[in-house]
Symmetry: C2
Subunit: 529 residues, 2 copies
C-alpha cells in the first residue's frame, strides 16, 4: 500500500526529556492497532500491513514537542465510523500528551461515506438566499412552553431570518413535550412563510436513543420539517451518520459534550479536525461551534481551522457550513464578516431574546446588520417534493391497540376503519383505500401492516423509495409493475419490492384487488421515479 492510500494522522507529541521520540511514536503505532509490543507480533502480514507506519518525526519549537505522522491501512477501520474513531484516538486518549492536529483521509475511505446531504449549496437552494451569510437563532430558554417558543419562531420568520433551531437542551421534557413543540413551531414558521413569501426553516432538536430519535424524526418529517439539530457526542457519532443516510434532511450539529477533546492543548484532538473534518464526514451540513469572543474558550485560529476543514475539498463530499455561535451579538457581526465571510451561518441567540418584547424587530436589525456587510441576492426557494400515495399519513390513527381484529366478509376488520381516497385528476393514483391493521396505533413493532384495496381500474402511484415493501395478495387479481417487469398477483401470492425499485400496483380485473402490505415502521418518503 502506498503512502497516499493510508490514513495519515498528524500528532503533536510531548516527550519528556529522557524519553526517545522514536520509541514513543512506535508505541502509538502499536497501541492504536495491535495493542501488543513488537515481540508479540506473530506474522509479517501484521507487522507490515496492520501496525501503523511511522512516516515522519520532526521537532516542534516547544521543548520536548514533536510532530509525528503515522499512516494506517484503511482496512483497519472496517470502513465504519466507530472503529475509525477507535483507530483515531481510542486507547491513546487514555495516555498522556498526544494531540491530533491533522488527518489526511484517502479516497478509498472517504468514498464509503455520503457526508452532508445538502451541504453549503444545497442549504442555500432550499432557502433561495445567496451572497450573504445565513442568519440563525435558537429557541430558548428551556422551560418555555411550546406556545412561547412558537411565538419566538414566528417572530424570527416574520423578521426575515433563515434558520430557527431549538436550543440543544430542548428534549422531550414533561414541561415542553417534543411533539407539541415541533408541531407548533413548525406551523408558526409555515404560517409566517405564507405571509412573507419567503422560506424560513425550523430545525427541531432530536435527542434520545436510536429508536426514539427515529420516531422524533419520523414525526418531524410528517410536519414537513426539512432539517434537525443533533449533538453527535450525546447521541453517538455514528447515529448521526446512520440518520443522515436514512433521512434526506439538513443536519445541523452541536458540539455538546466534546469540550474535553480540546481543553488541554497538549492532549486531545484539534477542533478543526473534530468539529470540521469528522463532523462533516458524519454528515453535518452545518457544524455549530463556540465562536471566539463569546462565552467559550476557542481561539480565533481554532475557529478558522474548523471553518476551513468544513469548506475545503474532502474526497467527493459536499462542503459544509460553519455555524459560529455561543454568545454572539449584533456588534459581533463585523468581526464575523471578516473571519467567516459569506459561507457561514451566523447564530445569535440570547442577544435577540433580550428583546423579547420585539423579537421581530430584533431579527430585522440582525438582517440589516448582515446586509451592511454583504450584497444579498434572492432566488425562489427550491420547490419541495409533492405528496405521494405510499405515505398517506397526514392523519394519525387514534384507534387503541387490539389483540384481535376479526375479519368481515366485506373485507373490513372489526374495529378498524378504511380510509378512502377519491380519484383526483392531479394525483397520480386512483380508486384506492387503506386500513391500518398494526403498527400505527401504538403497537410495538418495527413494521406496519396495512390492507389496501384497489377498485376496478384503480392503481397506486408510480414511485420509488429506500424502504422495501412486502405484499401479500388477499383477493382479486392485480399487476405489480416493478422496474419495467409486470408481475401478475393472485390471492396469497407474495411480492417483494426492493430498495429504490420503481413500482406501481394496479387492479387487473373487474372485482376489487386487495392486498396486505408490510413496511418498515420508520421509513423514508416516496419519490417520483
Amino acid at each position: 500500500m502506498t503512502e497516499n492510500e493510508l490514513i495519515r494522522i498528524h500528532y503533536q507529541v510531548t516527550c519528556p526529556p529522557p524519553g526517545s521520540i522514536e520509541r514513543l511514536a512506535k508505541e502509538i503505532a502499536l497501541e492504536q492497532t495491535v495493542e501488543v509490543s513488537e515481540e508479540c507480533i506473530p506474522t509479517a502480514f501484521i507487522r507490515e500491513e496492520v501496525v501503523g507506519q511511522v512516516l515522519l518525526i520532526q521537532p516542534l519549537p516547544a521543548a520536548g514537542s514533536f510532530e509525528v505522522h503515522i499512516g494506517y491501512s484503511p482496512d483497519i477501520t472496517a470502513y465504519q465510523i466507530p472503529q475509525f474513531l477507535n483507530l483515531f484516538f481510542g486507547n491513546i486518549s487514555l495516555k498522556n500528551n498526544i494531540r491530533i492536529t491533522e488527518v489526511k483521509l484517502p479516497e478509498t475511505f472517504v468514498g464509503r461515506f455520503a457526508g452532508p446531504n445538502h451541504g453549503m449549496e444545497g442549504v442555500r437552494r432550499l432557502l433561495g438566499v445567496h451572497g450573504r451569510p445565513l442568519a440563525a437563532t435558537a429557541l430558548k430558554p428551556m422551560g418555555s412552553s411550546p406556545a412561547q417558543l412558537a411565538a419566538l419562531a414566528e417572530a424570527f420568520a416574520l423578521g426575515g431570518g433563515d434558520i430557527v433551531k431549538d436550543d440543544h437542551g430542548l428534549a422531550d421534557q414533561p414541561f415542553c413535550p417534543f411533539q407539541e413543540r415541533v408541531a407548533r413551531c413548525q406551523e408558526a414558521v409555515l404560517q409566517a412563510n405564507l405571509r412573507t413569501g419567503r422560506r424560513t426553516l425550523y430545525f427541531p432538536n432530536v435527542v434520545g436513543g436510536p429508536e426514539e430519535m427515529a420516531e422524533q424524526i419520523d414525526f418531524a418529517v410528517r410536519q414537513d420539517v426539512r432539517g434537525v439539530l443533533l449533538s453527535p457526542f450525546l447521541v453517538g457519532p455514528d447515529v448521526l451518520r446512520h440518520l443522515a443516510e436514512k433521512y434526506p434532511l439538513v443536519f445541523m450539529t452541536h458540539p455538546s459534550f466534546t469540550g474535553t477533546y480540546f481543553h488541554d492543548r497538549s492532549h486531545g484532538i484539534a477542533p478543526g479536525v473534530f468539529l470540521g473534518t469528522i463532523f462533516r464526514l458524519l454528515g453535518a451540513d452545518i457544524s455549530v461551534f463556540p465562536n471566539s469572543g463569546g462565552r467559550f474558550a476557542f481561539t480565533p485560529r481554532e475557529c478558522q481551522e474548523i471553518a476551513g476543514a468544513l469548506r475545503q475539498p474532502l474526497g467527493g463530499l459536499r462542503a459544509a457550513l460553519p455555524g459560529p455561535a455561543g454568545g454572539m451579538r449584533l456588534d459581533s457581526i463585523p468581526a464575523m464578516a471578516r473571519q467567516y465571510g459569506t459561507e457561514a451561518v451566523y447564530i445569535i441567540g440570547q442577544a435577540l431574546l433580550l428583546q423579547t418584547q420585539n423579537m421581530q424587530a430584533a431579527t430585522r436589525a440582525f438582517m440589516a446588520k448582515i446586509r451592511e456587510h454583504f450584497s444579498e441576492t434572492l432566488s425562489p426557494p427550491l420547490p419541495l417534493e409533492v405528496d405521494s400515495t405510499c405515505d398517506w399519513m397526514a392523519e394519525k390513527e387514534t384507534t387503541p391497540i387490539r389483540a384481535h381484529l376479526a375479519w368481515q366478509p366485506d373485507f373490513s376488520w372489526e374495529g378498524r376503519r378504511a380510509k378512502g381516497y377519491k380519484a383526483e385528476t392531479e394525483l397520480a393514483f386512483q380508486g384506492m383505500e387503506r386500513v391500518e391493521l398494526a403498527g400505527k396505533n401504538g403497537e410495538k413493532t418495527d413494521f406496519d401492516l396495512r390492507y389496501f384495496q384497489l377498485a376496478p381500474e384503480g392503481f397506486s402511484s408510480l414511485e420509488k423509495h429506500q424502504h422495501a415493501h412486502v405484499i401479500i395478495t388477499l383477493r382479486g387479481q392485480g399487476i405489480l409493475r416493478l422496474e419495467g417487469r409486470e408481475i401478475p398477483l393472485r390471492p396469497f401470492d407474495i411480492a417483494y419490492v426492493g430498495s429504490y425499485q420503481v413500482h406501481q400496483l394496479r387492479n387487473a380485473a373487474a372485482e376489487p384487488f386487495g392486498f396486505f402490505c408490510v413496511v418498515d415502521h420508520v421509513r423514508d418518503k416516496p419519490q417520483k421515479p
Copy 2:
C-alpha cells in the same frame, strides 16, 4: 422539589483570582439548563424549577479552587441518557477548569433505567465461580486470522480461564470478518467446555452503526454467545443502554475514546463517575479500565473510585464488576488482590500471549496465581434456557431474494421450502411447519414474514418475549391463548401479541391451521413464561 429529589452534581471549579466563585457557580447552573443569563428568564417557573440550584460552595485546599454542588430537577433530563449527559457536562465541557467529582442520582431518575442485566452475581452464576476474582483475557493481535484467534480462545478455555473477549479493535475487517471470527471462537470455546466440564464464556466485540451492531449481536446470539464487549464512546452511550435493554446478554464495556475526560485534572469528569456510575447506569455488567501501574495514566486512587462506584448501592441497580486491565502481568496479581479483592475481573492480555507457544499453560499459571490469593469454590454453571419454537434459526436460509412467490393450492410458495418439525416428547410444541417468505433471505426489511402451519392437534410452545407478533390467519381455525384469554382465529383475522405477553397457538379443527406471522427482524429469544 426537595434537595433529595434533585440530581446533585459536585464540581471542582478553579476560579482565577479576580473572579467571583458565586457568579461562576451561577453561570454553570444557567449554562447547563437555560443557556441564557438571568435577565432573559421570562417566568418564575423557569427561574425556580428549571435553572440549577447552587446548593453549596466551599473552598478546596488548592488556591482558587472550590467545591460547588448544584441540584437539577430530573425532569430536565427527559429521563433519557443523551439529555442527561447534556445536563451533566454538555456545554460546560467547552468551558475551562470545571471537573465533575461526584453525582447523586435520585430514585426517580435511576428507577427509569434497568442498569446491568446480570451484574456481579449474575455473571458469577453463569460461570459457577465464587470466592475468587474472575480471570479474563483478550484475543489479539489485530490481523490474526479467525482460526488463530480461535486457537487462543480454545487454549484459554482449556487452561481454565473464565472470560475470553475480543480485543476492542477487532471489528469486521476484511482480514478477519466478524461472523467467521465469532463462529470459530465460540465453537472453539464450546468444544473446550465440553472437555473441561466447566464454562468459559467468549465475548465478541460489537462495533458499528446501530443497525450493524444489532445484526452482529443477532448473529452472536444465534451462536449461543452470552455476552459482548462494547465501547460506549465509540458507538454512542445510549446505544449500549438500548442494546442492553433489548438483549439479555452480559455487557462488558471498554473505555476507548474517553481519555480526554480524565487527562486534565482541572477539567472533565472523574473516572469513578464516568467509567463507574455512568457506565453502570448504561448497563455495564463489567467495566474495563486501565489499571494503575500498566500502560496508561490512572492513579491507584482513581481506579479505586471506579471500583467503588460500580459496586456501591445505586438505586435498585445491580452491582457491576470492575475490570482492571491494560498491561497487567502475572506478577501484578498480588497488588490487584489487595486493591480489588474478590469482586473484580482481572484481565491479562499480552502477558499470556507472550507465551504463544503455550497459552494453555500460561492460563493455568494465571489461575494458579489467583488461587494463591483466594479460596475458590465452584458450583454448576447456571443452566441456559432451552430452545423455543418461536425462533428455529439454527439454519440460515440460503434461497435468493425473489420478487414474486406464487402461491400453490397446497399452501406452499414457489421457490420456498417448508421446514417440518416432528413432534418430540421433550419439546413443548408439535405438528408445526414453517416457511420463511421474506426477511431471512437478504431482503432489506426491518421485519420477517413467515408462514406457519399447525397440523390437527398441533400447537406452538407457550412462551413470552420482548418482541411483538402480528398474525394473519390464512386457513383453518385456531386458538390464540394470550395472557389467559382464548381468542378464536378464523381466516383473515388479525391478532397482535404484545411485548412479554404469554402466548401459544393451537389448531382447533380437523384441518390444517395456517397463518402468517410478521415479527421484527432483530428480536430477542423467547423465554418460558
